[in-house]
C-alpha cells in the first residue's frame, strides 16, 4: 500500500462538475458540493480526468490503452462491444490495472479491481466558498441571435478567489510502474468537468507521496465484538434486485459487505493471505466469525444495543411517530389468534392498542419501520452518473443512471459473534486498517471509521421468558382467555434476514423446538442476492425479512423453561444459510414485547 495526497488548483475560471448536487428549479446545473455546501470534485470526475490523460500518454508512447475500460484501443482500429481488457499481451492494459475496468470478477493473483483508490477532492481554499450563477445562451446561427428558450443558468463556485482542493488516495499495491504512471497523469492532467470551451474546468494537479500513518491497533477481547461504523464518505450498498436506471442502496450494511470489506483490507495488507491461517479461520464460511448486519445507530450511544429493525408488530402514533412512544402489538395479535369465539375476539379488540390508538393523543397507530432505538433512518442522496464514450464524446449507451447513496455521517452498528480465538488479532488488525463498504471503493465511497464498543446484552433468557409469560398471562386474563398455555409459548424475532432451508424458517425451528403449532406468524418475504469478488453474482434467494416474528407452541406438558438451552443455542448460532454473513440472527422472548407494552 502507498498513500498519497493530490493537490488540485484551479488557476483560472472555475469548475462545473454536475450530477452530484441538486440543481434547484431555476438552475440548469450546479457544481458538486459537500454536505456543508463547500465545493468538491467528486472522485469519479477526478479519476475520469486522470484516466483519460493517462490513456493519451500511453498511446503516445506506443503502449496499448483501452478507452475507459471498454477493452478496445481506439489507436488500433474501431471498437466493438465492451469486453474485459486484455490488450497488454492478454493482460489488462496499464490504465485498466491502475483504474480498473469491466471485470466481472477478481482475476487470479489480483487483490483489488482497481489499484488506485482516490477519494473526492475537498475544498482546501480555507474560506467559505461563494457561489454565483453563470448565465449561458445558445446562439441561433441562422439569425445570429439568442435561440428561443435556450438560456442556461449554472451554479458554480465564484471565480476570482484561488480555488484549491485536496484529495487523499492510495495504491493498494505499491509498485514503481503504478507510481510513475499516476505521477505522469497527475502532472499532465489539465481539465476536469464541463465547460472547457467556456474557460471552465482548468486545473493543475500535484501528487505527493506520504507515509501511511501507523494506525493504532484496536484492542479486542475474546467474545462478541460490538462495532459501530461511521461513514466518512457517501456509500452505496448494492440492493438484491436492480431497478432500471436507478441504482438504489440498502439502508443497512449486510454482514457479507462487512465481511468482504474486512477480507479486502486484510488481503491487501498480508504477505500471503491465501495461506494465512488466522485470516482464513476468521472468514471461513463454516466455523469462522459471524459478521452481523449493521443497522443505523445513534452515533453517540455509549454501547452497541440490539441492532435490528423494529419488529413487524411495532406500532407508533400516526401523527407524531415514535415521539409518542412505540408499542408492540404481539400480545394483542396472539390473544386475537387464540380467541375461541366472536365474543372473545370482541373483548380482545376492545383492549387492543390499535383500537385504543395513541395513549397520548388518541391518533391511530401505524406500523413502524426503520432501526430500533432512537436511531433515525439514514439520509440518502441521488447522484446522476454517466460513462462517456471517448470516441464520440457522448454518453455511452445505457450508461446514464442515477445512483442513491447513503450520506456521509451516518452510523451503523452490530455485534461480530463467534470470532475464533486464534483470529481475534486478525480482526483487530482489519478493523484498524482503512475500511470501505459497498460499491465504488476505488472512488473513495463507503470509507468508514470503526469504533469498538461494549455490547449492551439483553436481560438473561430465563428472565425474559418469565417476563413474557407473566405479561402474556396478564393480557390473556384481561381478555378472558385461558392462561394455561402461556408457559408453552415462545416468541422468536428475526434480527436479520433469514435464508431458510425451506419455507419461511419454521421447519428448522420446529425441528429444534419440537413446536406443535404456530399460533402466530407475522412475517414478510424479501430477496437476497449478494456478490462474491471471486465468483461474481450469487443466485437470488428468498428470505424472511428481519423483524418477522414467530410464536411457537411447545408440546403439552412442557414449558419454555425446559427449552432454554436450545433457545440459547439458536440465539448463539442463528438459523438458515449464510450465517457467517449475519443472516438468520434470532432473539427469543424479545424484551421489546414487554417494553413495547408500556
Amino acid at each position: 500500500m502507498r498513500d498519497f495526497v493530490l493537490e488540485v488548483k484551479v488557476p483560472r475560471g472555475t469548475l462545473a462538475v454536475g450530477g452530484w448536487s441538486p440543481a434547484p428549479d431555476g438552475l440548469d446545473g450546479a457544481h458538486a458540493a459537500d454536505a456543508d455546501g463547500l465545493p468538491l470534485i467528486p472522485s469519479s470526475a477526478l479519476r475520469g480526468a486522470l484516466r483519460e490523460t493517462l490513456e493519451g500518454l500511453l498511446r503516445g508512447a506506443g503502449l496499448p490503452a483501452c478507452s475507459g475500460g471498454d477493452g478496445h484501443d481506439p489507436a488500433r482500429g474501431p471498437g466493438g462491444d465492451e469486453r474485459e481488457c486484455d490488450l497488454d499481451d492478454g493482460a489488462p492494459c496499464a490504465a485498466c490495472r491502475l483504474f480498473g475496468g469491466r471485470f466481472a470478477r477478481l482475476g487470479a493473483g489480483r487483490r483489488a479491481f482497481s489499484q488506485l483508490i482516490l477519494g473526492p477532492a475537498r475544498c482546501a481554499s480555507g474560506h467559505p466558498a461563494d457561489w454565483s450563477v453563470r448565465h449561458g445562451v445558445s446562439i441561433e446561427r441562422r439569425r445570429r441571435s439568442a435561440a428561443e428558450g435556450r438560456l442556461f443558468n449554472l451554479s458554480t463556485p465564484s471565480p476570482g478567489r484561488h480555488l484549491s482542493f485536496r484529495a487523499e488516495g492510495r495504491l493498494t499495491e505499491d509498485d514503481e510502474q503504478a507510481r510513475r504512471l499516476l505521477e505522469a497523469a497527475a502532472r499532465t492532467v489539465t481539465h476536469v468537468g464541463a465547460g472547457r470551451s467556456r474557460g471552465l474546468a482548468r486545473i493543475e494537479a500535484e501528487l505527493r507521496w506520504t507515509e501511511a500513518s501507523a494506525a493504532e491497533l484496536l484492542e479486542l477481547r475474546p467474545g462478541p465484538v460490538g462495532i459501530r461504523l461511521h461513514l466518512e464518505t457517501p456509500a452505496c450498498i448494492g440492493v438484491p434486485l436492480p431497478d432500471g436506471q436507478v441504482r438504489d442502496t440498502r439502508r443497512e450494511i449486510p454482514g457479507s459487505t462487512l465481511r468482504g470489506s474486512i477480507g479486502f483490507a486484510l488481503a491487501e495488507s498480508l504477505e500471503d493471505p491465501d495461506h494465512d491461517e488466522e485470516f482464513q479461520a476468521l472468514v471461513a464460511e463454516d466455523g469462522g466469525a459471524s459478521f452481523p448486519f449493521l443497522y443505523p445507530a445513534d452515533a453517540s450511544a455509549p454501547e452497541v444495543g440490539l441492532a435490528a429493525p423494529w419488529p413487524l408488530t411495532a406500532r407508533a402514533c400516526k401523527r407524531h411517530g415514535a415521539g409518542h412512544g412505540v408499542r408492540d402489538t404481539l400480545l394483542d395479535r396472539l390473544a386475537a389468534a387464540l380467541a375461541p369465539d366472536a365474543r372473545a375476539a370482541g373483548r380482545v379488540d376492545e383492549l387492543s392498542a390499535e383500537r385504543r390508538g395513541c395513549p397520548r393523543c388518541e391518533a391511530p397507530l401505524r406500523p413502524l419501520r426503520g432501526p430500533r432505538g432512537g436511531a433515525e433512518a439514514p439520509a440518502t442522496r441521488t447522484v446522476t452518473r454517466v460513462a462517456l464514450d471517448r470516441r464520440t464524446l457522448a454518453a455511452r449507451e445505457r450508461a446514464l443512471f442515477s445512483q442513491v447513496l447513503l450520506e456521509e455521517g451516518s452510523a451503523f452498528e452490530g455485534v461480530v459473534q463467534s470470532v475464533p480465538e486464534a483470529s481475534i488479532g486478525r480482526l483487530a488488525q482489519a478493523l484498524s486498517l482503512p475500511l470501505s463498504v459497498g460499491r465504488g471503493r476505488s472512488m473513495g465511497w463507503g470509507r468508514v471509521r470503526v469504533e469498538v464498543l461494549p455490547v449492551a446484552a439483553p436481560p438473561r433468557l430465563e428472565a425474559r421468558a418469565k417476563d413474557f409469560a407473566r405479561e402474556a398471562a396478564r393480557r390473556f386474563e384481561a381478555c378472558g382467555l385461558d392462561t394455561a398455555i402461556v408457559d408453552r409459548l415462545v416468541p422468536l424475532t428475526l434480527l436479520s434476514p433469514l435464508l431458510p432451508e425451506d419455507g419461511d424458517g419454521r421447519t428448522e425451528l420446529s425441528a429444534q423446538l419440537e413446536a406443535v403449532s404456530w399460533p402466530l406468524v407475522v412475517r414478510r418475504f424479501g430477496v437476497e442476492r449478494g456478490w462474491d469478488q471471486r465468483k461474481g453474482a450469487r443466485p437470488a434467494v428468498r428470505s424472511t425479512v428481519a423483524g418477522s416474528v414467530f410464536v411457537a407452541l411447545l408440546p403439552e406438558g412442557s414449558s419454555a423453561a425446559q427449552w432454554l438451552d436450545r433457545l440459547a443455542s439458536i440465539e448463539d448460532k442463528g438459523l438458515g444459510q449464510r450465517r457467517a454473513m449475519g443472516h438468520g440472527r434470532v432473539i427469543a422472548f424479545d424484551p421489546f414485547i414487554i417494553q413495547g407494552e408500556s
Binding site: A23, L27, D243, G244, V246, V521
Partner: protein, 470 residues
C-alpha cells in the same frame, strides 16, 4: 338515497347473501397482498392498466358468486353455508386470483357469522384476515430461477421467458409471464376503450412527471365502528364510488383528459401519474369534490349510526406527490409518493387539517428519503388554492433568483437575507409577488418572515408557462 350508491340494491344484495349463508352462515373475506407491487411491477402504463384490469376482472368474478356482500379493489366479503364450504371458497378465490395475476397472493379468512352478534363476528373476521395477510405465502414469481435466466426486461423481478413485443426492444430482451399477460390485458382494454396508448414519457413535461398517492384518513376506525353486514357493504361500496367519482371530477377539473395513468389499488387509495402542469388543479379538484360528496352522504338511508355517519361525512385524505425525472421506475416514484402521503397524514386529525398534502420536486442530487427529506410541514388542503396562487405568481420571479433561496443559501443567514432584500428592491417580479400575498416589501421584518419556503418553491416549479415567461 345517497348520490353515489343505491342503498336498496345493497340491502337486497345483503339479504341475498344472508340467504346463501343458510343455517350455518360463515363469512369469507379476502384481501389482495401487494396489489401496488402488481400494478406497478412494470413502468409501462399498458402493463399497469393490465394489472388494474386483472384485479377488476377478479372482483367482477367474486361479485358474480352467490353470497357476495361486496367486492372491489382486490377486497371482498362473502357469506356461505357451513365451515367446509367457507374453506373451499377461500381456496377457490386464492387460486382464481393467482391465475388472474400470474402468481400474486390473495389472503383469505373465514369466521362463523352470528347475526345476533354481527359486530363481534365481523371483528373476529377482520382479525383473522389481518393474521392471514401476515402469514400469506410468497408470490409464485420464479425468483429461484433468476440466477440462471435473464431477468424480465420490463419488471426486472422475474425470469424473462417470452420475447418482448415492445417496439424497438433489443432482440435479446425477454419478459416474464406476468408482464406478458398484463400487457395483453392492457392492450385489449385499450382496444375496447379506444384509448391512445401512452408511455410515461408521453405524460411527462420536459422530462418530468408528477405522481400522486392519496389515501383516506382514519378509514380503519370508520370500518371498525360499523355495525352489521349492511352497513359494512354500504360503506365499502360508498367509499369505492366516492373515490372513483372524486378522481373523475379531479381529472375533469385539471383537463388532463386521457393524459394520465391511474392504476387501481383499491378502495380509498388513489394512484395517479400525470403531467406536472395538471397537478395543482387535480389536487384542487380532488379536495372540493371530496368535501362536497362526503358531506352529502348522510347516514346512508338509516344504515349508519350517528358516529359512523359523522366519520363518513368528515372523510379527509392524506396526499403525497412527487415530481421527478421520468426515467425513474414507476414503482419507485409511487413508493416516494406513498412516503409523502404518510408524512401528509401527520398533519391530519382532530384539531388539525381534515386533508393535507406533502409535495416534493426531486432533482438530481436531492436527498430523496430519510428524516430531512420528510421534515417539511404538510400543507392543509384548505389552504391549497391560496398556496397555489402564491406559487404561480412566485414562478414569475426569474429562476436564478428563486434558486438562491434554496439549500445552501440557508434561510436565516443574515448575509443571504440582506442579499434577498436587495434583490426584491430592484426586481418588479419580486415586488409583484409580495404585493400579491399582501406583504409590504419595504418592511424589513415582514419581508424576512415571508421568505418562500421549500414547499412553495417546489410548488412554483409546477408552473411551466409562468417559469418560461420569467
Amino acid at each position: 338515497m345517497s348520490q353515489l350508491i343505491d342503498v336498496s340494491v345493497i340491502r337486497e344484495q345483503t339479504a341475498r347473501a344472508l340467504r346463501a349463508g343458510g343455517k350455518t352462515p360463515w363469512l369469507v373475506a379476502f384481501d389482495a397482498v401487494g396489489i401496488q407491487e402488481l400494478v406497478t411491477a412494470s413502468s409501462r402504463p399498458i402493463a399497469m392498466m393490465g394489472g388494474s384490469q386483472a384485479v377488476k376482472e377478479f372482483d367482477e368474478e367474486a361479485r358474480a358468486r352467490e353470497g357476495c356482500v361486496f367486492a372491489g379493489g382486490g377486497r371482498g366479503l362473502l357469506l356461505v353455508d357451513g365451515e367446509s364450504r367457507a374453506h373451499e371458497l377461500a381456496q377457490e378465490l386464492t387460486r382464481a386470483y393467482s391465475r388472474a395475476t400470474v402468481g400474486s397472493v390473495l389472503a383469505t379468512a373465514s369466521a362463523p357469522y352470528d347475526q345476533a352478534a354481527a359486530e363481534s363476528s365481523l371483528t373476529w373476521l377482520r382479525m383473522r384476515l389481518a393474521a392471514a395477510k401476515d402469514e400469506a405465502p410468497p408470490p409464485e414469481d420464479g425468483i429461484e430461477r433468476l440466477g440462471s435466466s435473464r431477468p424480465c426486461a420490463d419488471c426486472l423481478r422475474r425470469p424473462g421467458e417470452h420475447a418482448s413485443q415492445k417496439p424497438n426492444a433489443p432482440a435479446t430482451d425477454r419478459i416474464c409471464s406476468r408482464c406478458k399477460q398484463l400487457i395483453e390485458l392492457g392492450r385489449r382494454q385499450d382496444r375496447e376503450q379506444r384509448r391512445e396508448r401512452l408511455t410515461l414519457q408521453d405524460l411527462s413535461e420536459q422530462g418530468r412527471i408528477a405522481v400522486l398517492a392519496a389515501d383516506g384518513n382514519a378509514m380503519g376506525r370508520l370500518f371498525a365502528g360499523l355495525q352489521g353486514l349492511e352497513a359494512l357493504a354500504a360503506v365499502s361500496a360508498t367509499v369505492d364510488a366516492l373515490f372513483t367519482r372524486v378522481h373523475e371530477e379531479a381529472l375533469a377539473s385539471c383537463e388532463a383528459g386521457d393524459r394520465h395513468v391511474a392504476p387501481v389499488t383499491g378502495g380509498d387509495d388513489l394512484r395517479v401519474f400525470l403531467a406536472p402542469e395538471h397537478l395543482a388543479a387535480y389536487v384542487s379538484g380532488l379536495q372540493s369534490s371530496l368535501t362536497q360528496h362526503a358531506e352529502a352522504l348522510g347516514d346512508l338511508d338509516g344504515l349508519l349510526d350517528e358516529a359512523s355517519a359523522r366519520r363518513l361525512a368528515g372523510i379527509g385524505v392524506g396526499i403525497g406527490t412527487v415530481v421527478a425525472d421520468d426515467h425513474h421506475p414507476a414503482s419507485r416514484l409511487l413508493d416516494l409518493a406513498h412516503e409523502l402521503e404518510s408524512a401528509a397524514k401527520t398533519g391530519c386529525g382532530p384539531g388539525a387539517a381534515r386533508s393535507a398534502i406533502s409535495l416534493r420536486v426531486i432533482q438530481g442530487g436531492d436527498e430523496v428519503s430519510g428524516p430531512r427529506a420528510l421534515e417539511r410541514q404538510p400543507i392543509d388542503l384548505a389552504d391549497w388554492d391560496e398556496k397555489v396562487e402564491s406559487a404561480r405568481r412566485l414562478a414569475l420571479v426569474p429562476g436564478a433568483q428563486r434558486s438562491r433561496l434554496r439549500g445552501r443559501s440557508a434561510q436565516g443567514d443574515p448575509e443571504r437575507l440582506n442579499l434577498h432584500r436587495y434583490q426584491v428592491a430592484r426586481s418588479d417580479a419580486w415586488k409583484d409577488w409580495h404585493d400579491a400575498i399582501g406583504v409590504d416589501w419595504r418592511d424589513r421584518d415582514a419581508l424576512d418572515a415571508a421568505l418562500p419556503t421549500g414547499t412553495l418553491l417546489d410548488l412554483a416549479a409546477l408552473f411551466t408557462k409562468e417559469r418560461r415567461r420569467a
